[in-house]
């Protein structure tokens, strides 16, 4: 059978999605994947929910890819001691269904329910959300607010990077090309957890603003989509921790965030809503 693709090529038409520039190999094990990223400088691909959007848009450059989706050892959620360990290939659906997440980090389930729709939740991974390094990544404020630790592995080493040190700028991180994210670890969280995402609609929307907060002995608050990376509002936290008023905290927050105008929203809107969300967090978690 002559395929439509070949027919289209014969007629000199461009097929909609060009895969000719892609070279994809599959990793059968973590050791295999680590060797490949070291020796062949391949970009890991898992749920593909970001990379294949770029492919379909024509913005994914000819690439060497390594498919790590099949490495089952990187899947799953466990508790070790008092630490929640989330494997890099854990999907949003896995997080939504996990009793460990429900008990220890329920705001991660809240965030996961608002990523895309079920089709995306079934495929997108927590490790991919972290590695993709979008300032709008929905799970990132959750991990920033609870001071998570990203576990990076290479052929020769394993290191644990505190979330606050992970991102270095817009879509950049300390992760080396020869490393893979294997897990994210979250120590026991004391206090009320709170998550909100503001988008054009509930499902299938990229965040205009996304926020996660923990109201414990000292409040911890992280915002997405208001700066080049996910950010902790540390000065704002200090104002609240030292008994300052919510108005003072709101004024401080204005100085801490640096939102921009883009196709999803405006800087002015993001500033206003960020403050409104801070006030809502503070009142919802009171008592």
């Amino acid at each position: 059978m002559e395929s439509g693709r070949r027919v289209a090529a014969k007629r000199g038409e461009r097929v909609r999605t060009a895969i000719s520039g892609l070279d994809l190999t599959r990793a059968r094990s973590l050791a295999d994947a680590l060797r490949v990223v070291r020796d062949e400088q391949r970009t890991p691909i898992a749920g593909a929910t970001d990379l294949y959007v770029a492919l379909n848009f024509g913005t994914l450059k000819p690439s060497l890819l390594v498919d790590i989706w099949g490495i089952d050892g990187l899947r799953g959620i466990s508790v070790k001691g008092d630490t929640l360990v989330i494997g890099a290939l854990t999907t949003y659906t896995d997080a939504i269904k996990s009793p460990h997440v429900a008990k220890r980090l329920p705001m991660l389930a809240d965030a996961s329910r608002l990523v895309g729709g079920p089709q995306i939740q079934n495929r997108g991974t927590i490790g991919g959300n972290i590695a993709n390094a979008s300032p709008a990544g929905d799970s990132l404020p959750v991990f920033a607010a609870v001071d998570a630790v990203v576990v990076l592995k290479s052929v020769d080493s394993e290191r644990r990077v505190p979330f606050r040190d992970f991102y270095t700028g817009y879509r950049t991180s300390v992760m080396r090309p020869d490393e893979l994210i294997v897990a994210v670890e979250v120590a026991a969280v004391e206090g009320k957890q709170w998550f909100r995402k503001v988008g054009t609609r509930a499902a299938q929307a990229i965040s205009k603003i996304v926020v996660a907060g923990v109201r414990g002995d000292t409040p911890r608050i992280a915002y997405g989509s208001v700066a080049p990376t996910v950010v902790r509002a540390r000065e704002t936290e200090r104002v609240l921790a030292s008994g300052g008023s919510i108005d003072d905290a709101a004024a401080t927050l204005q100085r801490e965030i640096a939102p921009i105008d883009d196709l999803r929203s405006t800087a002015d809107y993001r500033r206003r809503v960020s403050v409104n969300l801070l006030r809502r967090f503070w009142s919802d978690t009171a008592s």
């Binding site: 439509g4 693709r5 895969i19 593909a48 294949y52 890819l65 099949g70 729709g117 089709q119 995306i120």
Partner: protein, 153 residues
């Protein structure tokens, strides 16, 4: 590469980075699965992989090796949910319909309207209107408690 398609073993020679959507439509000739947005937003290309709805426009073909893929063709032409869509006029232009049906198949027993809306949150319709679609799904679940059937060997 071998995978199960609608209950039958298939061995398809395609680029490992090809979109599952293209493999299904072009290599396998199953054009019931539609391409809408091509960015995982509209759900028109929804198929089930090992029982879970996914956007086939975002799945590299390499990832379905040894998996079980079910497309709208796997339901045959006489599935009760298809009849409900017809009865309730749940399809107008029809582009979103196969994806809507595939996404709805995984609903549990006695879903509420909210459950249906959540299950179909990843599927956009631009002409029929959601009312008829939700009604078709709810009537199917209310009237037919048999598990979703697919053709198998």
């Amino acid at each position: 590469m071998r995978f199960a398609l609608n209950g039958h073993e298939e061995d398809v020679d395609a680029h490992p980075a090809a979109r599952l959507l293209d493999v299904l439509r072009v290599e396998c000739g199953l054009t019931g699965t539609k391409e809408g947005c091509g960015e995982g937003e509209c759900g028109a290309c929804t198929v089930l992989i090992d029982g879970a709805p996914v956007c086939s426009c975002l799945v590299p073909f390499s990832q379905v090796e040894h998996a079980h893929v079910i497309t709208i063709e796997g339901l045959g032409d006489d599935h009760p949910l298809q009849h409900r869509f017809m009865d309730e006029v749940g399809a107008q232009c029809g582009i979103c319909t196969p994806g809507m049906i595939m996404a709805a198949l995984v609903l549990g027993k006695n879903p509420t309207l909210d459950d249906v809306k959540t299950a179909l949150a990843g599927n956009l319709c631009r002409c029929t209107g959601y009312g008829a679609i939700y009604r078709a799904v709810l009537k199917w679940k209310a009237g037919d408690e048999s598990p979703p059937s697919v053709e198998s060997e």
